[in-house]
């Protein structure tokens, strides 16, 4: 008994010893910044005075009463749900298509992945040229087939900037959805469809009663991941529009950046960052509940 306990203690010591480096790194790289953000959010830190006086929840109060925060919140929701909805729809459609047997399927699958592999900066530069009002290929194309009669200001009008950014985001990230869904689609046993055919199910019924329930858990999980990633996506929007024109594409991460590094109001930036985090946590809770339900049904 005593020996067993000693052995167990020995095992524990070893376990703690091997865990220590990881825990140390985690605390250093995630713990310290998190605490710093919280403490910064409680201070009035600016360019002139980096030591900043403690101001309690004043920065949060500012955020929750400022128009900038609510505009950014609204923009974030438009950005996140716009991109995720389009990505999921496009991703599912293409995954279903690529799951069929046809000539050059391997090539098609490889090409679909291309946007995901292009570095964001490269992609954004190219898209900015394409969206350019005078020399951009998009306006040129739309003009030549007569859909529009004068160039559209894709990135420089408040009404179109968000749409443009969403289109680029969808183009960049839908391949991720395709890969995830193609994986699960290919794991559906062929016999399921054969049994359904014999049982008299139409193509639509096969999709609705076999394919969809089968892919649903992965579909929701992918949507969840895409939601989180879109929520704190920064570089695409910043590089495309810098949050403009005016505040048309200023999402919460952009607002954090602008507050901290353009206005040098670090305290307010940190407060917005923490609020963003809180909103994301709520969404995660909802999504996980949804996924759990889908898996229980499986």
């Amino acid at each position: 008994m005593a020996e067993a306990r000693a052995a167990l203690r020995g095992d524990r010591t070893l376990a703690y010893a091997t865990l220590a480096p990881s825990v140390f790194l985690l605390l250093l790289l995630a713990g310290v910044p998190t605490i710093t953000v919280f403490s910064t959010a409680m201070q009035d830190i600016g360019m002139g005075d980096m030591s900043g006086p403690y101001v309690g929840f004043e920065n949060f109060a500012w955020a929750l009463t400022s128009e900038a925060f609510y505009t950014a919140l609204r923009n974030t929701f438009v950005w996140v749900f716009g991109s995720v909805a389009l990505e999921m729809a496009l991703g599912l459609g293409l995954a279903l298509l690529l799951n069929k047997t046809f000539m050059f399927r391997g090539v098609a699958r490889a090409i679909i992945l291309a946007p995901y592999l292009v570095p964001t900066v490269v992609a954004v530069l190219v898209w900015r040229y394409m969206f350019h009002d005078i020399v951009g290929i998009i306006n040129a194309g739309l003009l030549s087939i007569g859909i529009i009669d004068k160039p559209l200001l894709w990135l420089n009008s408040q009404s179109l900037a968000m749409l443009s950014v969403i289109l680029v985001g969808v183009w960049k990230f839908f391949p991720f959805v395709v890969i995830a869904l193609l994986g699960i689609l290919q794991s559906i046993p062929q016999e399921q469809y054969e049994a359904a055919k014999i049982d008299g199910a139409s193509s639509f019924q096969q999709f609705w009663r076999i394919t969809l329930p089968y892919v649903m858990p992965v579909f929701l999980l992918t949507a969840l991941l895409r939601t989180i990633w879109s929520f704190h996506k920064f570089e695409i929007i910043y590089l495309m529009t810098g949050g403009g024109p005016l505040d048309a594409t200023t999402t919460l991460p952009i607002l954090v950046y602008l507050k901290a590094f353009t206005d040098f109001e670090f305290g307010r930036g940190a407060a917005v960052a923490i609020l963003t985090f809180a909103i994301l946590v709520i969404f995660l809770g909802l999504y996980f509940a949804l996924i759990k339900r889908a898996e229980d049904r499986q």
Partner: protein, 352 residues
């Protein structure tokens, strides 16, 4: 319920011929087993009956209808798959109800039929379970119930017992047969297991390399194999084959006994046998050795019941014999069986 007829059906894939000119008929209510080694075309034939594959040549008739080009759903057949193909996200109830639901049956009818089918296979108490919460045997019965629920004309089964463990397989086989007797639906059953085929089939179709080698009752197939392939495929250990000039002699191990075992004056054919090794199997002993004497030296096996007192002398030539009535003769070049006196199955032999 219906009769099923296959007329000169072939299935040619780009790189090989899976089924070659097969003709057979399954009578109303009959249980027919397609038996053969893997790759013999039995599953392809079943899939053509189901409509999951289209024949390259030939015709398939279900009842009085030509079904060759019909969609699977229009054939009124049911199929049980090797892995059951249950829908994992649906309960047992909904799995069984599926064929009715997709046809838009009203829920009262669905409930009656599901309860009836589930009752037939003894699943009444498990209707709320999901497939993954059930044993292999229960899944198999769910698949049976699902295939039954809409009164199919023909019932197709693709090795439905092969995923069960050996013990369960035996009882499931028994249940399946009783069940078919009760429902009386025309059934085609695919297997590579000859014990299953012998135990289940009213008749057995032995297939090899896409062709039918023999069609007959289990007894006919075993007693009067149509050729040397069937002779060696059926039975474990297989029929002994010894060539004698331009014919091949065949005799089952259990008919190959010490000469002393036969009554004086009975009609026997003597065959000298040299035993190398004895395998004790409980009820029987298997004697491994070589046929010798005036026949060419050929490996052979004798099966002697343990109740027969006999201790072989290893390595020396012993007088063995086969009752002449149990001796089969095959053409040495074609491998086809030569007529046996008293054999009454010519009408059922199906070649070409």
């Amino acid at each position: 319920m219906a009769r099923l007829e296959i007329r000169q059906v072939s299935k040619v894939f780009t790189d090989h011929t899976a089924v070659s000119d097969v003709s057979l008929a399954v009578n109303d209510g009959e249980f027919l087993v397609l038996l053969g080694p893997s790759g013999c075309g039995k599953s392809t034939l079943l899939r053509m009956i189901a409509g999951l594959e289209l024949p390259t040549y030939g015709e398939i008739l279900i009842g009085d209808r030509v079904a060759t080009r019909l969609q699977p759903k229009d054939r009124n057949i049911a199929m049980v798959f090797q892995n059951y193909a249950l829908y994992p996200h649906l309960t047992v109830y909904e799995n069984i109800a599926f064929p009715l639901r997709v046809r838009g049956a009203d829920s009262k009818l669905v409930e009656d039929k599901v309860k009836w089918a589930a009752g037939l296979v003894g699943l009444g108490h498990l209707l709320k379970r999901k497939p993954r919460q059930m044993s292999g045997g229960e899944r198999q019965r769910t698949a049976l119930a699902r295939s039954l629920v809409r009164d199919p004309d023909v019932f197709l089964l693709d090795e439905p017992l092969s995923n069960l463990d050996a013990k369960l397989r035996h009882s499931a086989r028994e249940e399946l047969r009783q069940f078919q007797d009760r429902v009386g639906v025309t059934s085609v059953y695919v297997t590579h297991d000859q014990v299953e085929a012998m135990g289940l089939g009213d008749r057995i179709v032995v297939m090899q390399a896409g062709t039918v080698r023999q069609i007959g009752t289990p007894e006919e197939i075993y007693q009067y194999p149509a050729d040397t392939f069937v002779a060696t495929f059926m039975g474990s250990p297989p029929m002994n084959l010894v060539s004698q000039g331009d014919i091949t002699l065949g005799f089952r191990p259990e008919n190959f006994l010490p000469e002393s075992n036969y009554a004086q004056g009975s009609d026997i054919t003597r065959i000298a046998f040299r035993v190398h090794r004895v395998e004790y199997l409980g009820g029987d002993r298997l004697l491994y050795g070589h046929v010798c004497g005036n026949l060419p030296e050929t490996p052979a096996i004798a099966r002697i019941p343990s109740s027969v007192a006999y201790s072989p002398t290893l390595g020396s030539e012993t007088a063995f014999a086969v009752a002449t009535g149990d001796l089969r003769r095959f053409d040495a070049t074609s491998g086809k069986a030569l007529a046996v006196a008293g054999m009454k199955l010519e009408r059922r032999l199906a070649h070409g």
